[in-house]
Symmetry: C2
Subunit: 397 residues, 2 copies
């Protein structure tokens, strides 16, 4: 009887989460060295309830759909595992001949990964490895995380498109709200929309910097007077100087706090304080579920992360998470690395100061250079006859 593999998803999905699952299946098949690949249906709860589906039974043409399926094909959960849960798992794994346990998720999931290794004992023959995944890109050590490149491509493209839309009728301010409550990586990626000076986004606000309403209003006013249409990208998690959310919680039920939308709040501020027409957009979940704006680089790396996690486990590693290191050279290239999970269990990586400008209303060129390759594309060239008309006076008729 050959050793089986179990894949578990934790937390919210990304546009390429299922691509990593495909990577595991690919590696299992090509290596020929393992038994079945099981999916834990419904996340870590699925382990405890032994809800396992044998994915190796499905034909390749079905499995290929994982590359272009949003969400998580095997479900997920936010169930908080207790110490006895970890202890109960070993017997379950043994019962199903599971020797390789791969957790795909963010910080919280890596925490579970580490705790499971501790419960099993690090010399156990059952190996546990982490596949990183988050649109927020807030896992430490690794250069970046699968899921982020697609979220970055989505916000960059969307910002460019909204920039073209707002220019059409130069009469307003548009606030685009981006996901990432504590880390501004997605918000920052909107800067990739710019092809030339004056392009959207005109202002970028990350949660890493205190948000100052007075400065924001002054900046919007100045840009509006100069450009006509202004596109602002703001993180859903903006906080003021004292660290309080800019939009106060609307209400609380049980453990959950519900905040109002930052975009709507800022748009209202612009209308009321500046008397300028404004609106807000909040694509929200659309940005992490968009298959048409999946980054091809991100998808490829997500597959690779799945393969590498299984490979590491088969080679005897346990308690590691796959990460990516960037080779220092002209062309973008990464190599997979194995990071001890203890190093990422409790960290939350935010955008460093070197990637944010002094005024705190934009990102730096260093950020743009770092981020661009992850999206796997250049923003397309749009044609703008309005601009040509303004700039080439001699060439009008």
């Amino acid at each position: 009887m050959r050793d089986n593999v179990l894949v578990v998803h934790g937390g919210g999905p990304t546009a390429v989460l299922n691509a990593s699952l495909y990577g595991v299946l690919l590696e299992a098949r090509e290596s020929g060295a393992v038994g079945a690949v099981y999916g834990a249906i419904g996340g870590s709860e699925g382990i405890l309830k032994e809800r396992f589906l044998n994915l190796s039974r499905f034909p390749e043409e079905e499995l290929k759909k994982l590359l272009a399926t949003p969400g998580t094909a095997i479900g997920s959960s936010r169930y908080a595992l207790e110490e006895e849960d970890y202890k109960a798992m070993e017997a379950i794994f043994r019962k199903h001949h599971i020797r390789y346990v791969l957790f795909n998720g963010g910080n919280g999931t890596m925490d579970a990964c580490g705790k499971l290794v501790r419960a099993l004992g690090s010399d156990s023959d059952i190996r546990v490895a982490g596949i990183p995944k988050t649109i927020d890109n807030d896992i430490g050590i690794t250069d970046h995380t699968p899921g982020y490149g697609s979220a970055a491509r989505y916000i960059a493209r969307t910002t460019a498109e909204i920039g073209a839309d707002v220019k059409s009728l130069p009469i307003h301010v548009c606030i685009l709200e981006a996901m990432g409550r504590n880390a501004g990586w997605i918000t920052a990626a909107s800067a990739l929309a710019r092809k030339k000076h004056g392009d959207a986004p005109h202002l970028i606000y990350l949660p890493e910097r205190p948000f100052r309403e007075e400065e924001f209003l002054a900046d919007v006013k100045e840009l509006y007077d100069r450009l006509g249409g202004v596109v602002v990208v703001a993180s859903e998690g903006l906080k003021d100087e004292s660290g309080k959310p800019v939009v106060p919680p609307i209400f609380q039920t049980g453990r959950s706090v519900y905040y109002g939308d930052v975009g709507a709040y800022l748009a209202e501020l612009v209308i009321k304080k500046l008397g300028i027409k404004a609106r807000s957009e909040k694509p929200g979940l659309c940005g992490r579920a968009s298959i048409s704006l999946q980054s091809p680089v991100d998808r490829e790396e997500a597959v690779l992360a799945g393969r590498e996690a299984l490979k590491a486990a088969m080679e005897g590693c346990t308690g590691i998470m796959i990460g990516f290191a960037r080779r220092e050279q002209e062309k973008y290239e990464v190599c997979p690395i194995r990071i001890p999970v203890e190093q990422v269990m409790l960290t939350e990586r935010t955008v460093p100061a070197s990637y944010i400008n002094n005024r705190g209303n934009d990102v730096t060129d260093a950020f743009v250079s770092w981020c661009r390759p992850l999206t796997g594309e250049e923003i397309p060239d749009y044609i703008d006859f309005q601009e040509i008309y303004r700039e080439r006076r001699e060439d009008r008729e």
Copy 2:
């Protein structure tokens, strides 16, 4: 000296507005029968200020970008033309040897079209034709309007993707707000996301029917208990029985009224009244600016509408708008028709009763059959192992 063509854009853009402009340029070049094609920079104000750019001078590879440029490449305006404005136009057209004036826009723009024809006199040698354009699909007579097919594809795909996302973590209700304040055509198109029974969207609310909070909450509750995750698509313009917007205006400045977001309002309602976790997404402008989700059928028809408008004007027609009639046959096929602008000047076509279900929380199959070909695609097949696990009990390991 050959007769020149002038193209004018009015109102907000669509994903294929510039494709119609490309169609005019293509027809002008292929016919070889006209002089230059000018773009009025900044809409109808551009006519009065004689801001004309000769688009025929640009090389084909530049013009081709119009097919994939969001917004409007020549600008637009919401300027309300006065009677003396129409009177002033004739001299301007004569000065620039403009004989063919093509207005691209919605109801309001067709109104301007008709008024200009009256001012010129219907036996004038200057011909005026309309190219229809609106994401809202609210222009009368024509089967549908360029711009709508792409907006429909966007909302359908987005609903399908959010459906997959919400299923991943079956713990909440997601409200997706769709554009269209008085006409629910875009909201309705979310129904195309369904591949099988139980798929998102689970509830659809159009502005054509009074919105009843009690029924909404009862429907959400029932679906949540049965399915776990619920996706609701709601029009931004929902009104109650008395015709008042469901979300009261936040405030008013000058002529503009600012409403709160319907999606956010409904999500709050679900949390407060049902105690179920909920969130809302409002892609808003993203939906009319998305080039990656442009409908190929829509783009093609937008090009055709541009070509046909110029063709009609060259053939001596004036005061007409190009529309589409659908041939009654298995395969989707349309033919362009010429509609007198008086017939569309003051109409606002809403979704007919036959396309809405009795309870007012969904659309009918007749609507889906009518709408699907306009999006130019079938929603892709996603793979859902959670569902397979539930349904094929015998097949798990």
